[in-house]
């Protein structure tokens, strides 16, 4: 597609500069325009964009186009481009920074909402009491209905447990029975573990909105909870 002509009296690549300041290792300028990234990227062609063209627009200071394109949400920041890029350029990281440059109210609503909810505790927004209730309810049901699992446990806030386990919020909200297999496995393996009644969500959508403060806040909260329980290991379930 023929783009509009680009007149470069002076290059003012403000977005590029901003990224370089935030991420000194971004190496945007190093791009050889070899296209290896575009060849390996499943998002190539979406929104008439690909990682190489994206970097090129940044270098040429086409900031308007960069800030406007929704390709930043087509890119999943998977870093497969960086994996093989001869210069090791991390397009995912660059996309993250640009997502953050978008005003909150102009970001995809549900994505931002997931993070906002996460900041309060978990990405689905169910109250912590509900999580505790669901866990206990499901556990009760298994112990009653499946005699061989009458001793199954799903401890919550057990201080000093060796392992801390997080739980993707999707299960307690929409498919609670999906929690059971893991409990059983842990039980058979004889693992001393616990959930926590706060900051228990295994997902974290604040990784994707572009605000490092939100991301940091949520991870910090998790760390505090796990340390306060005194667990040696923090198991992520995904």
């Amino acid at each position: 597609m023929q783009e509009k002509n680009i007149d470069l009296e002076r290059i003012r690549a403000a977005v590029k500069q901003k990224i370089e300041e935030a991420v000194p290792e971004a190496k945007i300028n190093y791009c050889l325009t070899c296209g290896l990234c575009a060849s390996g990227c499943p998002a190539t062609g979406l929104e008439d964009m690909d990682p190489r063209k994206f970097l090129r627009l940044l270098v040429l200071g086409q900031d308007e186009q960069i800030l406007e394109t929704n390709w930043i949400y087509a890119c999943t920041m998977c870093q497969r481009c960086k994996y093989a890029c001869p210069m090791g350029i991390d397009v995912g990281r660059i996309v993250y920074e640009i997502r953050g440059m978008r005003p909150r109210e102009e970001r995809p609503r549900n994505l931002q909402r997931s993070c906002d909810l996460q900041r309060q505790n978990n990405s689905t927004g169910i109250p912590n009491e509900d999580f505790v209730w669901v866990v206990n309810d499901v556990l009760e049901e298994v112990r009653e209905n499946e005699p061989q699992w009458k001793d199954l446990t799903a401890p919550i806030d057990k201080k000093g447990a060796t392992y801390y386990l997080n739980q993707n919020a999707k299960e307690p909200t929409v498919e609670p029975e999906e929690m059971v297999p893991l409990w059983k496995i842990l039980h058979v393996a004889g693992i001393d573990w616990t959930y926590s009644s706060e900051w228990w969500d295994g997902a974290n959508y604040c990784l994707f909105t572009g605000d490092p403060e939100d991301w940091e806040y949520t991870v910090r909260k998790q760390a505090e909870v796990v340390d306060s329980l005194g667990c040696r290991y923090y198991i992520n379930t995904e």
Partner: protein
């Protein structure tokens, strides 16, 4: 997401006393140690399994080591001969297209076009079951399977691990104490 916590702890230099681990690494470890015992005998019909390597866990997380662990567990659970690997694989695998918040972001058409590569790759294995150890992958793989008319079943690993568990006295007793 594994990477969210792993990288968050590192990037923001968050103090912590625990060690951050993946359940996949632990499954493999417990199987190797004999702490968990499984028998693939349940798979009489020879259901074929393949796998999705979550970017956040593998490429951005623990790399090929955890991808090998993942395969080790699936092969133990489903039978060595019933695992069909994908290509590209492990650290070089494609993102499913559900990552980066795209399931929430709402650009459904883009997300599905993105996922076409994953769909083709998984279809090419001819597998009956796709193991997705990440919730985003799980949701996306189910969606592209439906959308593009795939025939496989998309599941977490734990369901099959549970199915293959050999529960002898020592195992259950351990939990009792």
């Amino acid at each position: 997401m594994f990477f969210a916590t792993l990288e968050g702890l590192r990037r923001f230099n968050i103090p912590h006393k625990f060690e951050f681990v993946s359940i996949i690494s632990l499954y493999a470890k417990w199987l190797r140690e004999g702490r968990l015992k499984v028998d693939p005998a349940w798979n009489k019909d020879g259901l074929k399994f393949t796998v999705q390597d979550p970017c956040k866990l593998v490429r951005q997380g623990l790399g090929d080591v955890v991808a090998e662990d993942l395969r080790y567990v699936i092969k133990k659970v489903a039978g060595e001969e019933n695992f069909i690997d994908v290509w590209p694989r492990m650290s070089n695998n494609y993102c499913c297209g559900g990552g980066g918040g795209s399931l929430q972001a709402g650009f459904v058409e883009n997300r599905r076009k993105y996922g076409k590569l994953k769909f083709d790759q998984l279809s090419a294995t001819g597998a009956d079951v796709v193991i997705t150890p990440c919730h985003n992958c799980h949701t996306q793989v189910i969606d592209i399977c439906d959308f593009y008319g795939g025939k496989w079943k998309t599941t977490h690993l734990w369901n099959w691990l549970e199915k293959a568990l050999v529960i002898d006295d020592s195992g259950v007793q351990a939990g009792k104490d």
